[in-house]
């Protein structure tokens, strides 16, 4: 094949292939329009998100220091951290074994179970809240649990349960895909080397799922932090009692206390940004370590 090099990728030499000749000018201008539309759409969305957020932060920052000094905002921050961390920890305790079990045990109907578990993902949180309230409110089950110290309705425990209810399906979903990426044959090899099922899980699958678990923790914690609708229904919005940051935003907004509302919103935005940043950092760490793998 000692022919002179012909550039087969450019279309202005139609002579030596059988493809129909296409007008290069038309293609170029078509590409330009396509690119232009893409860039315009990116810019529009960016403007919307950016201006909305900056507007809030701009208005909130001025009075942020003063608002942070109030007992109400401090209470809301403390309560938000306490409930979100607690619910996330309980969530991981359930989600890891559940995701692993659904992925590996081949339980009959495991697809169906997965679908049921994922329903809260697509439901409006406020519907979840109503459902929990009806289940645990003025019912036998609710009273029995309350007698044993688990009073969920209109209490901090209710906030934790609401957050748990909302974030656990997410966590299960993330962890299931993480577990699915880990070859079951790795565990099998571990077992030929003498591991029991439990040892193979803790020594092989769990360490390999570490990055997925951390990513799930960050996403779910951020969601728990911002959870509003479900806990509003179950735990109510009582000032200085079940007042998390989103509830504080809602309460202050509804009485027209804009400064406090903006301060709550700013706190939430900052927390989200930190979580997002953390997630991105972890993401690149995961990428690097998966290159190692």
């Amino acid at each position: 094949m000692q022919q002179p090099e012909t550039d087969t990728t450019s279309s202005h030499t139609p002579s030596n292939n059988n493809l129909p000749f296409r007008d290069q000018r038309f293609r170029l201008s078509g590409n330009h329009i396509f690119k232009g539309v893409l860039i315009l759409l990116i810019f529009l969305i960016l403007m919307l998100v950016f201006s909305a957020l900056v507007n809030v932060i701009w208005k909130g920052l001025g009075s942020l220091a003063a608002s942070l000094a109030t007992e109400e905002i401090q209470f809301a921050i403390r309560l938000s951290f306490f409930t979100s961390i607690t619910s996330t920890l309980i969530c991981i305790l359930f989600a890891v074994p559940v995701a692993y079990g659904l992925e590996r045990l081949n339980i009959p109907g495991h697809r169906f179970i997965s679908v049921i578990l994922e329903v809260p993902l697509s439901l409006p949180p406020i519907v979840c809240g109503v459902a929990l309230l009806l289940l645990l409110g003025n019912t036998e089950a609710g009273r029995a649990l309350a007698e044993h110290g688990l009073k969920f309705v209109f209490s901090v425990k209710g906030i934790i349960l609401a957050q748990f209810f909302i974030i656990t399906p997410y966590m299960i979903r993330v962890l299931k895909s993480t577990m699915a990426d880990i070859s079951p044959r790795l565990e099998f090899v571990a077992r030929t080397l003498g591991c029991s099922q439990w040892q193979a899980f803790t020594r092989v699958t769990l360490p390999l799922a570490r990055n997925g678990i951390i990513a799930g923790l960050v996403i779910c914690w951020a969601r728990a932090m911002g959870e509003f609708g479900c806990s509003l229904m179950l735990a109510g919005a009582t000032r200085m009692k079940t007042e998390t940051l989103p509830i504080a935003l809602f309460l202050n907004m509804s009485v027209g206390n804009l400064e406090m509302a903006m301060a709550s919103a700013t706190c939430l935005i900052i927390i989200s940004l930190v979580a997002l940043l953390l997630f991105e950092l972890l993401g690149s760490a995961i990428l690097q370590s998966s290159e190692r793998i």
Binding site: R191, G194, Q199, R292
Partner: protein, 348 residues
Amino acid sequence: MIHLVNLSKHLGNFTLSNVNLTVQENEYFIILGPTGAGKTVLLETIAGMHQPDSGEIWINGHNITHQYPEERNIGFVYQDYLLFPHLKVKDNILFGLKIRKVPPHTMQRALEQMVALLKIEHLLDRFPGTLSGGEQQRVALARALITSPRVLLLDEPLSALDPPTREEFQNDLKRIHQYAKTTTLHITHDFDEALVLADRIGIIYNGQLEQIGRPLDLFYKPRSQEIARFVGMENIYPAVVRQYGQDKYVDLGSLRWRVISDLEGEVQVAIRPEDIILAREDFSSSAQNRMRGVISAISPRGGMVKVTLDVGLPLVALVTAQAHEELQLELGQELWAIFKTTAVHVFK
């Protein structure tokens, strides 16, 4: 010693039916079969990943059919290595000993021995993802061997390696087996690999163990057409056996070849391409089968040249590049094909 009794397993598209097999102590046994013949399922069943549908698995006189994988003490090496990606090479190798809570100094000695045997000293502190395929395969083998398994199961250990690495690792497998003498069951689809490594070979086809024998027995006396094709018999034709006095012949259309066989009636005959001599002129020799043909194709294969001769049916012969040069072979040329009676393999 591995002893499989009437082992059957159906899994997805793979079926093993009534596999009976005994691998002797210290033997290197290779199961040979095309991809998708159920070979991996067989190994995984022996190691305990799947419960057999029926039949029994015995190892060193113990029925292990219903034992957990971790109770079987079987070394398993996969084609794709499956090293633990989160552990350094050293911790991968020591994995089995740590589970068994072996004392540190014993562990250290075993590690040094393994590492020297497999020549992987320089890799110990690296993560598996940074190793080449050949290196990973060595580590996987070290990880399996260090626990002194009662049997070693190798699932196409050479298939994923590039040719030079494959040859090197193949020689290492031979050397390591001579040293460690672990009873080994190795599966592959590569007959050359089996020829070099195996003490005995079993051929698996459609989930059935079709023939077991020493490598050369299979090579020269394949029991069926599939096996003949699989072990590299190129010229396979249907024929009919005829007896004339003391001598036996096979008729293939217009051709008649002298053969040695106990079979009668309709049979298959096969000739290895390298057993056919090409000559410009007929010459008298001890070879009984001689026929004239015209070259219909010439193509290089490996270091040899594959010549297809039309003798009434296409007959493939392998000659060296040098012979090709000296005979000045070209398409349409008339040649004599000559082969001995014993070169014609007759089977049903």
